[in-house]
């Protein structure tokens, strides 16, 4: 039977959690022998916060304006899979380019996390994501191969149709801090599980520079006509069909095995001697 916490605690909680955010005092509130006393910055066990992202490159051939060293103009980016603002979770993105670029380590401190450049060669871009202090102190690395030339080399290159390569993935934060949870639970960029209504969360505290007016979402991004629309329905359908087939096959084999065994009860281990 859950212990109903007192009503006065939340206010104390928010004061404490504000300062806690700065210093990341991650107290593992695992053993709650005294639920009345609110331990600041508890971790929510068995909860995972999931941020679906899509990252990749879009590259345009420059056509007449192309030169030997600058034949394509491309953009590498990390966006929310539904084009929502990732700034609520990501503090900074660092794009590590090929050393032939001057200043190959490009830092982007605010959403939208993207970088545009021009060049002639394909190479692997390393994207490092840094999160806000209450989210995670570890960084996350992604790798993406910049593609300039289309798959089928049939027709001539067009300046209008770019080469788009995107990858879908989900950033998972297991056992998040309750302050993080409280802050993002209503944000469209983030998927959070539903907690019971009686659950006690600290009051959400906005992060620094959240007051900036610049839009972080990519809903009206100039390139958004090229963004890939990822839908899991297709994949789920294929998987479900495949599973059905395999399960049917398994049933058939089990039947055959039991016939061979000649026992009415199949698969009972026989004694050795």
């Amino acid at each position: 039977m859950p212990h109903t916490p007192s009503l006065s605690s939340p206010r104390n909680q928010s004061d404490v959690s504000e300062s806690a955010i700065k210093l990341q005092r991650l107290v593992m509130g695992r053993s709650t022998d005294d639920p009345e006393k609110k331990i600041p910055n508890r971790r929510l066990k068995d909860v995972e916060i999931c941020v679906p992202i899509s990252y990749g490159t879009i590259s345009f051939w420059l056509g007449r304006k192309a030169s030997e060293s600058q034949s394509h103009k491309w953009t590498v980016y990390v966006r929310g899979a539904t084009n929502e603002d990732l700034g609520v979770v990501i503090r900074r993105a660092v794009f590590q380019l090929h050393p032939s670029f001057n200043n190959p380590m490009r830092v982007v401190d605010s959403p939208p996390f993207e970088l545009s450049e021009s060049g002639w060669g394909e190479f692997e871009i390393a994207i490092t994501l840094y999160f806000h202090s209450d989210v995670c102190d570890k960084q996350l690395d992604l790798f993406h191969h910049l593609k300039l030339y289309p798959e089928d080399e049939s027709g001539p290159q067009s300046t209008k149709k770019p080469v788009v390569v995107e990858s879908y993935n989900e950033i998972v934060f297991p056992d998040p801090l309750d302050s993080f949870f409280a802050r993002v639970k209503d944000h469209p960029a983030v998927i959070v599980p539903r907690l019971p209504a009686s659950f006690n969360l600290p009051a959400p505290v906005p992060i620094e520079n959240a007051k900036e007016k610049k839009r972080g979402d990519t809903k009206d991004h100039p390139l958004n006509q090229w963004f890939v629309n990822f839908s899991e329905a297709d994949e789920l359908l294929k998987l479900a069909t495949a599973r059905q087939q395999v399960q049917a096959h398994i049933v058939k084999l089990r039947r055959q095995l039991s016939v061979i065994d000649g026992l009415p009860r199949p698969l009972k281990p026989a004694s050795d001697e």
Partner: protein
């Protein structure tokens, strides 16, 4: 374009684009003189450090100024104690026969079996279980048969075990050695003195050896299975301990049995009563000890990608399968039209993908089991002349058959079966052998 692409090697980040990596030219080997290139290549294409045979010797022809004849001549060998004269062909050069002892006489080595005098025997070598006579006989046989104890034991007049004979021989030799040595320090390095023959150990060792040798195939398989299971358990325990301390009860399933991974749905219960999360929308998947330990290690990370989580779970699920099985799983996935790595890896897609892989593993194991059973069954049928599969035969067969799952890497039978399976594309349609069997049984019924 990149040479690494061609080789299939993983690229290091930030490889320079379009750099023509010219393969280092392998400098062509010099053709050696004296032997053909192919023969030289047999040695590995490299000259041996110390050429066993001088290369120039290999194509040496007999000198034209020599006159060589072959003659049937008598010879003697220093290795023979009688004066038997034998004849053989001899290569005579310019009328001069070769000199020297018979060339194989040098191989006539024998063992230096100790010879003790009577008084030595009285002083050092008496033993309650051995008479003087027996000891003498033993030593005579040892000398005659060059310490081949199996033969000696065979010929020994009174029946004694090989270990017994060995024990007597070695202890006598040792005693003599020690007695005759001017000081104990001289012989302490001798192997006989340093490591005396240990009868009980030898007996035990041979018993164990014969036990292992006489193990039936079934027992062997069972042992291997038990070991594999034990290994899995210890690994699971280590992983569970190594992961971030979790109070979550680890439901580890230990029983091997048939290839159905035992289904014990793990309830992720948080001990903290304040945090109560309703079950997730995804149907709780069948999980094993591997899954749980992977989940634990994932939870230990502060952040990870969904694809990474899937990789780990897939690896855990296929941990008991060999490389070949994993390849077959992937082939099956492709045949079913499923991406090996989901294009849209959401939580539910990944869960479904994982479950599908597990089910395919189950399927492949069942197929292998089936084929194995058939192989056993058909070999039994071929062995006996009785055609009708009546009840007594059936029970005999089932008694023999091993019901437990044979993992890929373990038994030869499994390997063989695996090969047969590969000839048919997975998911395999029932083979003619498989369909023959049920029909036959039904007919007799």
């Amino acid at each position: 374009m990149d040479a690494k692409d061609i080789l299939g090697l993983p690229k290091t980040p930030l490889t320079a684009p379009q750099e023509k990596k010219s393969r280092p030219q392998k400098d062509s080997q010099r053709k050696p003189d004296g032997i053909s290139r192919e023969v030289y290549a047999l040695t590995g294409g490299l000259a041996p450090l110390m050429p066993a045979v001088d290369v120039s010797q290999l194509k040496r022809r007999p000198q034209s100024d020599e006159k060589v004849t072959w003659q049937w001549l008598p010879f003697t060998s220093s290795a023979r104690t009688d004066n038997l004269q034998l004849y053989h062909w001899v290569r005579v050069v310019n009328g001069v026969p070769p000199t020297g002892d018979y060339s194989f006489a040098k191989y006539n080595k024998s063992v230096n079996v100790v010879k003790y005098t009577d008084e030595e025997y009285e002083k050092y070598l008496t033993d309650p279980t051995w008479t003087r006579e027996e000891t003498d006989q033993l030593f005579e046989l040892c000398e005659r048969f060059d310490l081949r104890f199996i033969v000696i034991a065979d010929r020994f007049p009174s029946s004694r075990t090989v270990e017994d004979l060995k024990n007597r021989y070695y202890s006598v030799s040792r005693a003599i050695l020690v007695a005759r040595a001017p000081s104990s320090g001289d012989v302490s390095g001798h192997p006989l003195v340093k490591e005396p023959y240990n009868v009980s150990q030898e007996v035990e060792r041979k018993r164990a050896l014969s036990m292992i040798l006489s193990q039936t195939k079934q027992q062997e398989r069972k042992d291997a299975e038990v070991l594999a299971e034990a290994k899995r358990i210890t690994e699971a325990r280590i992983a569970a301990r190594g992961a971030e301390e979790s109070d979550m009860p680890v439901a580890s399933n230990v029983s091997p049995e048939s290839n159905e991974k035992n289904i014990i749905p793990v309830e992720t219960v948080s001990p903290s009563s304040n945090v109560q999360i309703p079950p997730t929308t995804v149907a709780p998947p069948t999980s094993t000890a591997d899954d749980i330990s992977t989940l634990n290690s994932l939870r230990g990370m502060r952040v990870y990608l969904r694809t990474y989580a899937l990789e780990q779970m897939v690896q855990a699920a296929s941990s008991s399968a060999g490389l070949r099985t994993i390849k077959r799983v992937e082939q099956t996935l492709q045949d079913l039209g499923v991406n090996l790595k989901p294009k849209v890896p959401t939580k539910s897609v990944c869960a479904e993908h994982l479950e599908l892989r597990k089910e395919i593993l189950t399927l492949l194991n069942l197929q292998k089991q089936l084929q194995y059973k058939e192989a056993e069954g058909s070999s039994h049928r071929d062995g006996s002349y009785a055609e009708t599969p009546g009840t007594p035969k059936r029970s005999h067969r089932t008694g023999e058959q091993d019901r437990t799952f044979i993992p890929d890497s373990i038994s030869f039978g499994g390997e063989r079966v695996g090969k047969r399976d590969q000839k048919r594309k997975a998911p395999a349609p029932p083979s003619p052998a498989q369909s023959k069997r049920p029909r036959k049984l039904k007919a007799s019924d």
